[in-house]
Amino acid sequence: MKTVTTLLLPRLWPLKRPVASGMMKRSFRLCILGGIGAAFWIGIFGVSMRVLRYFRGIEEVGDLILAKLLSMMLITVFSLLIFSAILTCLSKLYLSKDLSLVFSLPVERHQIFIARWLESTFDSAWMVMLYTLPVLIAYGIAYDASSMYYAYLPVALVPLAAVASGIGALVVILAVMVIPANRIRTLFVFFGLFAFIAVYIAFRLLRPERLVDPEAFATVLVYLHALKSPDFPFLPSTWAYDGIHGLLAGDAAQGLFAASLSLAATGLLYCAMVITADTVYFSGLSRAQTVKERLLEPRRKPALKKSRLPGPVRAFAEKEIKTFFRDQTQWSQVFLIAALVVIYIYNFKVLPLERSPIQALYLQNLLSFLNMGLVAFVLIAVTARFAFPAVSLEKEAFWLVRACPVRIRTYLWVKFVIYFLPLLILSEILIVGTNLLLKVTPLMMGLSTVTLCLLVPGVVCLGVGLGAAFPDFNSENPAQSVTGWGGLLFMMLGAFFVGAVILLEAGPVYRFFMARVKGHALFLSDWIFAGVSLAGVLVLAGLAVWVPMRHGEKKLTEMDI
């Protein structure tokens, strides 16, 4: 165990170093990030308390529903932990840059494996655990649990994370025996997305909202039976549930038994990992060092045919398109977006508008208006994944951009154009598709499409510009650059921009709509109001394009590489 601890030291030592004088800016950013994280935590706690108190107030079935919800939450947490652990273990065990150093040292293979498993357990679980705690604490408060319940939570959650991470590590080590590690990440992401979409669709088809609506069931007995049906007894999440549920009811013996099961499973997995690591870990790692192979052969034809673009611009545009489509990790993301579009539009299709007590025309147009905001938020998320890391994707090859005779401004505008067109098409598909399902008025259809045309350039420029201002050329995964301070700033400014545009449009749209409903003509004040709002929207859209691109250009030009 001493060697395992030693192998973790390069990760631990930097943590105990005192904050240097130049770290104040970083500390400030961490404080803001921490503040936002704390706000989310408190929000989850507040919502959980409200839900728990509501259900506890329902006689007979309230407790059953809460028990079922707890069980479902723990199954979801366990699944998330396994998926997260698979991706983390793959990186830590096979793709980390320091593996050549660690493997040249005189340590046993299983010691390296166990050290990496411990790291993976922490990395893949800490956030899930952190945001599961407010729900569990809310359960404790709602059920007036004793202090033993709160002390028990780590006993239930830590083995759950350890088992999930152990399963993830074993899945990875066995999978790498069949497929080289440098290819497997793409496949895991594909499998994960398939699983996610399958689970989501299954979840939608089950219509879980019926669980809180006993009238939807044929009889009360069927309903109670559905709630009381036991979970699969060999699942670690079931043991965690049994323990937590037992402690909520003051049954310490049940908690102890469940904890013993979890710890025994962790011990068993530990032994399995040691044996597997000594047997096959090194051969898998050797295979990971072989030449990368592709799923499909790359196209040899030029990406842009007969373009009139100037040479350097065309060169960058071609490079951008080719590298994007040849990066297999991007394919899964494109696939995810396609699924997202289907799910998004499907959700509008199942809206029970005809059963609403509110006037259908009013509701349809209200939803269409709100839908603009929703589509814009989807746009921000997709931009964060693709356009924001666009500059960071250059990685250590960025010296080439700086060395070649092309202005940074031109380089950034090439990036903008590459991402603008697909994102505009995506946004318009979402808004037009959902508006058609909502059967909105031509005015709302026109307003939505034009608004999106104004929002997309601003959001993409915010992404490209701030991505250029906060690049991360050293990251193993540039897509993760959005998880830093620059990404947070992009999200906040993007949300502000979208919110401001929607708010500016809300007033005139309401007046136009009410005039139509009441059958009277528009007043001069209505037109002035609309004109001022439109001018405000145009100014905002212009600023969102100009300011971040200039800021990104300035920062990137000044950057020492």
């Binding site: 390069p10 293979r109 790692l285």
Partner: protein, 245 residues
């Protein structure tokens, strides 16, 4: 000290190292040269225990790398061409980490580390974060780390990359001193000047096969190029082996 026995490494489509056999005795500096893609780094990775051979074996001080990698690695000081260093550690912390892994006692480590840091002109930067180091400083720090535990065998991949002329002279001198003390050095390099200057014996690898080994004189004789320098010998031997018979 180092014995490679019919070492072979096959990637999916490529035979990177083909049936390579070699013995390097104690106290010898063996130069390993070859064109790009010849199989030098793959051979070195197998010798350092970073990669499993498809067939054949590596023995370090009589210890089989496949059977007892821990014991074999404990006798090696490995200096890769593109070393990974933990950038958030200081130079001294990195050495401390290496010392702990090799099981060195804390007191002995400090003296040894300080001595080597002085020798490689890194003492003034010992407490700075590695992320602030230049490429040459990183290379020198890796050399310090490799020498820290007094290895019996040193395996070096491109030792002079990124080093200034003063450091190059220093490294050559240190290599000679180590060899005199009985340490075996296996030096893979593109720099034929380095191989000619410091190596007792040179092996030329081409397309995964060891096509010639021997002292410079023996290689000249083999290339039928008396008085030629290593560059000319290298060109003649690789050209000879490029032409299909």
């Amino acid at each position: 000290m180092i014995v490679l026995n019919r070492l072979t490494k096959r990637y999916t489509k490529t035979l990177a190292v083909n049936d390579l056999s070699l013995a390097v005795p104690k106290g010898e500096i063996f130069g390993f040269i070859g064109p790009n893609g010849a199989g030098k780094t793959t051979t070195i990775k197998m010798m350092a225990g970073l990669m499993a051979p498809t067939s054949g074996s590596v023995s370090i001080c009589g210890i089989d790398m496949a059977e007892n990698p821990r014991e074999a690695k404990a006798r090696i000081g490995f200096i890769p061409d593109r070393p990974y260093l933990y950038e958030k550690l200081t130079g001294m912390e990195f050495l401390k980490f290496i010392a702990r892994v090799y099981g060195m006692v804390p007191d002995g480590f400090k003296e040894k580390a300080q001595f080597l840091l002085d020798r490689f002109a890194l003492a003034d930067w010992a407490d700075d974060l590695i992320e602030a180091y230049s490429h040459g400083m990183c290379q020198r720090l890796v050399m310090v780390a490799a020498l820290l535990h007094d290895p019996e065998v040193i395996i070096v991949d491109e030792p002079m990359v990124g080093l200034d002329p003063v450091a190059v002279i220093l490294v050559k001198r240190i290599f000679r001193e180590l060899a005199e003390k009985g340490v075996t050095l296996f030096v893979s390099t593109h720099s034929l000047g380095v191989a000619q200057d410091v190596c007792h014996r040179i092996g030329i690898i081409h397309r995964g096969r060891l096509i010639a080994t021997g002292s410079l004189d023996q290689l000249r004789e083999r290339a039928r190029a008396a008085d030629a320098d290593l560059e000319a010998v290298f060109m003649a031997l690789t050209a000879e082996n490029s032409n299909p018979m």
